[in-house]
């Protein structure tokens, strides 16, 4: 679809990951997209293209054991392990300041990265994710977290069941090809990674107060987009993000579920592009 993104591989964190990029490739400030579970660099193609067209450097990559990327031996499938991977990828890419765009589990991962690099966080876009004070896991996560049950569940999940379960929880279904790509990537490796990651995260809201205390005083420009009918992370958390990001521009999309960039792509793209225009950052290089 988008000719505006370039795809290549990136060596980072001891593995080879897929990179989707757009815009000026040598800028030290970039829009960095971090996907959730299950997700991959492919989630971000449209938005990365839009950010690139807006004159920004945009990068999205698979997290280890997601998409088509294999985790190196000894990789820690924990939010901290993934945050470390993000740090290594950004270093490899020469990115010093980032506007993070986070979705789902990309939220905790990106926010942990931000805790370690608060000065490098130039702006943040939270899509159905963020600080989750008091949040307790959704049913599916609880299944994944239960030993044996999680393994059985992952073993018996097939394409039809996956498609059905996913769409059942979405207010108006997701585009067929989006779901198919997600399932294509949901291989044995990813399924194992999901179990490890969720089992390493007993309290998804646990760090919230620390994050709020650290981030709120920094007045980081923020855009929050949340699907009103998110069945996994309730939309009531959308306005909670203002505690960590005072002055955040919060949009609860009335007809969206957990993947607004898939079921309301035009709206999400418009909001992202407008946000990037507002937060300034490096001026686009003059042409020629």
């Amino acid at each position: 679809m988008s000719a505006a993104v370039e795809r290549r591989t990136l060596l980072a964190g001891g593995t080879r990951t897929r990179l989707v990029q757009a815009g000026p490739a040598d800028a030290t400030e970039a829009v960095v997209f971090v996907h959730g579970n299950p997700g991959s660099a492919d989630d971000w193609e449209r938005l990365a293209a839009a950010a690139g067209a807006a004159g920004r450097r945009a990068v999205a990559f698979d997290l280890p054991d997601f998409g088509e990327t294999i985790a190196p031996d000894g990789f820690g499938h924990t939010p901290f392990g993934y945050a470390e991977f993000v740090a290594e990828a950004l270093e490899e890419l020469g990115i010093e300041r980032a506007q993070l765009v986070l979705h789902d589990f990309g939220g905790p991962i990106g926010l942990i990265w931000a805790m370690g690099h608060p000065d490098a966080l130039a702006g943040i876009v939270l899509i159905d994710t963020g600080v989750l004070p008091g949040y307790t896991w959704h049913t599916l996560a609880r299944i994944w977290r239960t030993p044996v049950l999680g393994e059985i569940f992952q073993a018996i999940t097939n394409r039809g069941g996956y498609r059905f379960a996913l769409n059942r929880n979405e207010p108006r279904g997701l585009p067929r090809e989006f779901v198919e790509t997600m399932y294509d990537h949901y291989d044995r490796r990813t399924r194992r990674a999901v179990l490890k990651l969720y089992r390493a995260t007993p309290d998804p809201g646990g760090m919230s107060e620390n994050l709020i205390g650290l981030l709120a005083p920094r007045r980081i420009p923020a855009l929050v987009i949340w699907g009103e009918h998110d069945a996994y992370l309730p939309a009531s958390y959308a306005h909670e993000q203002e505690r960590a990001f005072p002055g955040a521009d919060v949009h609860v999309l009335a007809t969206s579920g957990h993947w607004p960039f898939a079921d309301a792509p035009e709206t999400v793209e418009r909001l992202l592009v407008e946000f990037l225009a507002r937060v300034g950052a490096t001026a686009p290089e003059p042409a020629g």
Binding site: R172, E228, S236, H239, H251, L253, A254, T255, A264, T267
Partner: protein, 410 residues
């Protein structure tokens, strides 16, 4: 000291749409009517209103001779395009019912001056109803008071409460009332500038369960309305304009609200409790919102004001002419009112709970988005031309066949 200086055939409290329409009808039939309005300003108008008049109200307006002046004043004759997750529900242009969009700022003074100019109608501005007068176990007029404290007793054979949703006359007469909660609230404002895609037609969005609308109106203005469920209230209270603009701009196939410029205040209504009152008591009738204050989401208030006024005057004219007892006429009005509105309000108020579509509604909307005939049936119902008893059998059979064909074609 109250003075009884006048005796009328009818005294009507409230000179907004329903009251004026009733006064015009009764006055034209040769009766003496006192039309009492607590607002002293003849240009007063109802502010918290989407001003949309459903097609069901148009014949009554035409009969009053007001349709031409409304169109001459720039009133639009829109059909309604309804967005659903299955697509736009649009009856074909030649089948679609057309309502009216004219700002209340223009409409109310027009209707009021027509009433004031009707022979036999005494328009009394700046008087408010204090108490009801009784005679032989029947209501027989009202005592009214002006801001100077002057009180007058207006005696009449028929007393009419046309004083809106929070009707004082209804309260004083103690007619039984049924209320049901409304889980939504409303905010809206007029904007000038870029017109929405279907202009001059109206667009509404059934966001399931949220709701939004764009009503293009006279002088190239558009009234934008949001009716979200109450979880969204804090953001609207904090920044009414910002929240309204954001809400409309984020809907699918959004109208160009951000390219427009707001004209006039942002209006909000938080309590939209549905009220249905028994529309009659001995010697007394309620019209418009005083009788039935239905969920504003469906835009029926203005149309039903004109319709109930018509039903009342048609029903009581023989009695006022001395051909039959008044009770009989009032009884006829009550039955006509119930026949016209009860089925509609039942389903409207059920939807006021802020719930999502039920399977039957999903079926009907999906079919209507796919098929002209299904859309026409839903359009006739939504514009209140047909009631649920006629709509459901037709819409459901059509929905089953349309959706089955759709599933097979995939």
């Amino acid at each position: 000291m109250p003075t009884t200086d006048s005796s009328y055939d009818a005294v009507i409290v409230g000179a907004s749409l329903a009251g004026c329409a009733t006064a015009i009808q009764l006055g034209r039939a040769g009766h003496r009517v006192a039309l009492v309005e607590k607002q002293p300003d003849p240009q007063a108008f109802k502010r918290t209103c989407s001003h949309f008049i459903q097609a069901s109200g148009v014949p009554a307006i035409e009969r009053l001779g007001l349709l031409e002046p409304i169109e001459a004043a720039g009133g639009q004759r829109p059909r309604v395009h309804a967005w659903s997750q299955w697509g736009w529900v649009e009856a074909p242009p030649e089948q679609a019912a057309r309502g009216i969009n004219l700002r209340r700022e223009v409409l109310d003074p027009m209707v009021r001056s027509t009433a004031a100019a009707t022979p036999g109608v005494d328009l009394m501005l700046g008087w408010s109803a204090e108490r009801l007068l009784c005679e032989n176990g029947s209501f027989a007029g009202v005592a009214v008071r002006n801001p100077d404290g002057k009180e007058r007793e207006l005696r009449a054979r028929l007393t009419v409460g046309a004083d809106g949703r929070d009707s004082r006359i209804a309260e004083l007469s103690e007619v039984p009332v049924k209320t049901s909660p409304n889980a939504r609230f409303a905010y809206g404002a007029y904007f000038e500038g870029a017109a929405p895609a279907h202009a001059p037609d109206a667009s509404v969005w059934f966001l399931d369960p949220q709701w939004a609308a764009a009503f293009p109106t006279d002088t190239d203005l558009t009234f934008y309305a949001a009716m979200p469920t109450k979880e969204r209230l804090p953001e609207f209270k904090r920044d009414p304009e910002g929240a309204l603009v954001k809400f409309l701009a984020d809907v699918p196939e959004a109208p160009p609200i951000r390219e427009g410029r707001r004209v006039g205040p942002v209006l909000g209504k938080v309590d939209m409790t549905n009220r249905m009152r028994r529309p009659t008591a001995p010697g007394l009738a309620l019209v418009g919102d005083a009788a039935t204050a239905a969920d504003p989401l469906f835009g029926v208030g203005c149309g039903w004001a004109f319709q109930s006024a018509e039903w009342l005057s048609d029903a009581v004219l023989p009695a006022l002419a001395g051909e039959q007892p008044l009770d009989k006429g009032l009884d006829r009005y009550r039955r006509r009112h119930a026949k016209g509105l009860r089925g509609h309000t039942f389903f409207m108020h059920e939807y006021s709970k802020g719930r999502r579509f039920n399977p039957m509604e999903r079926m009907m909307f999906a079919a209507a988005a796919r098929d002209d005939k299904a859309a026409t049936i839903l359009d006739s119902y939504a514009t209140r031309q047909i009631g649920p008893a006629r709509m459901f059998p037709r819409a459901l059979t059509r929905a089953i066949s349309v959706n089955a064909r759709h599933a097979l074609a995939r």
